[in-house]
Amino acid sequence: MALLPLANILTRKVRTTITVLAIGVGVALFLVLTGLTSMLREIADRTTRVDAHLMVWPASDQVVVSGGLPADKVEKDLRSIPGVTRAVPVLRWPFKMAGRIQNVYGIRPEDWPFFARPGALVEGRPLEGGWEMVIDSRLAAAGDFHVGQTVERWGHTFRIVGIAREGVAGRVFMPIDTVSLALQQADRRASFFYVRAADPTRIADLRRQIADRGLSVFTMDEFYSVLASSFVDMDLVIGAVVFVAAFVCFLVVLLTIYTMVLERTREIGILKGIGASRTQVFGLVMAEAGLILAAGILVGFVMTFAGRILILRLQPLWTIEIPAMRFAYAAGLAAVGTLLGALRPAFRAANQDPVESLRYE
């Protein structure tokens, strides 16, 4: 019996191919677009991969870019809170490298060990001061940068003095005073602070005390949610695209299977005439949809891998992570859409009057 559905879908190769591609595109779109959201997770992971318990920001909802805190004053204030062992300022500012905007981490050179564990530098040396930078290995590979190379930005020449293993908090580190100077700031500023507590069990109390000073404070775990809330539009757009792709899949399958049933009205009458039950006719139509679905999922997975490779080749600093379970989820969604699309035509075929079908020209 399996032979008949397969033979039927292979009879209309072009139509079957188009339907398979539609499902494949839907699957690939879902996987790639949701995989792109892992970029936020990657940024959050890097940002929070330091030996700190809290992040302190100015009292606003803008946590992506800010240069609003007087660094020395705020550091002194934070250090005065009992239980705070360290307050590390970071001046974060946009900086274009490898064709894309990066966030420079302006830090004090003496704070480098706070950001990079021993062995993090794969080439060169840490920051010492002046017009220099340390970049991460991924940015170095994307832009073909190497130690000793210079970069002209902000009207100054920066020398790359070190390359750190990918995974450090930022992709570009510069001395905080250098960044302040380049931005013509009157005094040293900070976008935010990393705060380390003496007793991690007292973080709630520390939070309250810091917040009482008119500052926004998050735990490291909360940072992802805070970051994600700044990119809510991206989630909406991705969600909308995925929904539209799934709906188009459903419509294409519905149209294809419906057309197949209409074309084979007489054949369905013959099947019933030679002994097929309603259930068997229903099953045959659903089996055809199932075969198309299986092929579509396979094509979708191939397109996902190919799409990921292509995107990362064009945008090497993007992150597209697709956990294994998401492939199963995508297959499940495709299955729901396809089988729902095939249900109506399958019921129609099963309930077709055999006499009318046999008389159909």
Binding site: L3, L4, A7, T11, I270, K272, G273, I274, G275, S277
Partner: protein, 222 residues
């Protein structure tokens, strides 16, 4: 000899858009086991309607069909399908083989639909109709006569109690028609197959044991 297929007051009225069109009017017919009956009449006299009702593909407006001793009145679609599978082999006008399957697969399909083991039954049946060497060909690669022989093989592979044939030679030339009728007659003669065949051709009808004429939805001679 036992009666294998019988109709009692069989009536069929088609209704569409509020218009009633009578197709059969109180047909009483009895077919004995092993009998070869031809039903002959002009186009539109109700022959095909009678065959659809005998094959349980349709339900009568009134009256009943008794098949292998079972009164089919009031049976649901599932029960009629089961009866049809067990007792009926159908040869359609225009052969109606599935174009995507080979000859052998077409014959095997009726066994698979009945969840019966296939084995070499399709090949033996194709050999019986003289087409074993063409079992792998698709219908489009066969002549019309060969397609009809495969349709007969498909209908008989399940060893049905009754073979219903709807104008089996309607689309064939006279030479091919004779060969098909010879084949049908051989199954009747050698295997005692019960056959009900409808036709509008006198020469075809004369090949049967008994001729039943129809006009305007009624039997003239039974």
């Amino acid at each position: 000899m036992e009666t294998i297929l019988e109709t009692r007051g069989l009536t069929k009225v088609y209704r569409a858009d509020g218009v009633a069109t009578p197709a059969l009017g109180g047909v009483n017919l009895a077919v004995r086991k092993g009998e070869f009956v031809s039903i002959m009449g002009p186009s539109g006299c109700g022959k095909s309607t009678l065959l659809y009702l005998l094959g349980l593909l349709d339900t009568p407006t009134d009256g009943t069909v008794l098949l292998a001793g079972t009164d089919t009145r009031g049976l649901g679609d599932g029960d009629r399908t089961r009866l049809r599978r067990r007792h009926i082999g159908y040869v359609f006008q225009g052969f109606n083989l599935l174009p995507t399957l080979s000859a052998e697969a077409n014959v095997a399909l009726t066994l698979k639909l009945r969840h019966r083991p296939v084995g070499d039954a399709p090949r033996r049946m194709l050999a019986a109709v003289g087409l074993e060497d063409k079992r792998r060909r698709r219908p489009s690669q066969l002549s019309v006569g060969e397609q009809q022989r495969i349709a007969i093989a498909r209908a008989l592979v399940t060893q049905p109690a009754v073979l219903l044939a709807d104008e089996p030679t309607g689309n064939l030339d006279s030479e091919t028609s004779d060969r098909i009728l010879d084949l049908v007659a051989r199954f009747h003669r050698d295997l005692g197959q019960t056959i009900v065949l409808i036709t509008h051709n006198q020469q075809v009808a004369d090949r049967a044991d008994r001729l039943v004429r129809m006009r305007d939805g009624r039997l003239i001679i039974s």
